[in-house]
């Protein structure tokens, strides 16, 4: 089982692309390798793009889940500095 307990959470509801990814990336840069970031967002396109970009940057997307009518939660593990 993957450990999904986040070491850090950010709430970027209200932001659109590319700032969703910019904010997520800045958050993960400040974390240690192996730590887990939980991102709460409400922009549908970002629910697809943020996980894709995180993977392209070499991190592992552990979860993408729609949690209600508007919001998604994305969980990412930092793999490298």
């Amino acid at each position: 089982m993957e450990d999904l307990r986040p070491d850090k959470k950010i709430d970027i509801r209200g932001l659109v692309c590319p700032y969703t990814f910019v904010k997520s990336k800045l958050a993960i840069e400040d974390m240690e390798v192996g730590e887990v970031l939980e991102i709460l967002l409400d922009y549908e396109e970002a629910a697809r793009n943020v996980p894709k970009s995180m993977q392209e940057h070499g991190h592992t997307v552990l979860k993408v889940e729609k949690v209600n009518d508007k919001d998604w939660i994305i969980v990412v593990r930092k793999e490298h500095d």
Binding site: P18, Y19, V22, K23, K25, L26, E29, D30, S53, H57
Partner: protein, 268 residues
Amino acid sequence: MEFTDEQIHRYSRHIILPEVGGKGQKRILQSRVLIVGAGGLGCPVGYYLAAAGVGTIGIVDSDTIELSNLQRQIAHNTERLGMPKADSAKLTFEALNPDVTVIPIKERLNKDNILDIIRDYDIVVDGSDNFPTRYLVNDACVLTGKPLVSGAILRFEGQVTTILPRDGHCYRCLFEEPPPPGLVPSCQEAGVLGALPGVIGALQAMEVLKLILQKGEPLKNQLLIYNALTTSFRKVRVPRRSDCPVCGDSPTITELHDYEAEYCQMRF
């Protein structure tokens, strides 16, 4: 430092690049770059470095703006005729990006002032328009171990090279001495098509950003030559010469030298 919301927006296209990120952008904001010349090359170099967020930009130029400059020196404008170029560059670059502090240095570089001027900077960019300054800047950077991004333009051709003292070649490895004044084109012959300094200056700005970010391969031990008429780029290998008078194994130039400025003042 933490980014403001405005900075996150301003630099978002940098931050999303894996090679830059927030860390790289902070390096850019903390960097200090000296540009020699606020002319054809210095204008685009400074413009792009200011846009990128280089925190401190020194700009050395003792000239004032003339109408004939405006065909290519894009940081200046018609309303500013007669204004010192260094002051005009400060107005333009700081208006583009308030994160940037531009330090105008309205002096002509010589062997007595150059070391004090370059001391405060991480990287030097040469966009000067004459051989005495070009050699003086080269020698000062080699003697102090300062990275130098050098550019030159004439008519339809431009050159760029990055000098990392003792790690690669220097300008004197390429041409040991300035050419005799008679071989330098006279004023009438020294035309330049207006967009050429834009091409070469943008290449210089890119070299500077790569050095700040420590990404990619700097243009060391190489001279990049651009021909506008044929739209061609070629690279010439320029190895460091062990007998170079300034960066060689037993240098003969160990202090700075002012060349007689007998040259036509080509205002690039």
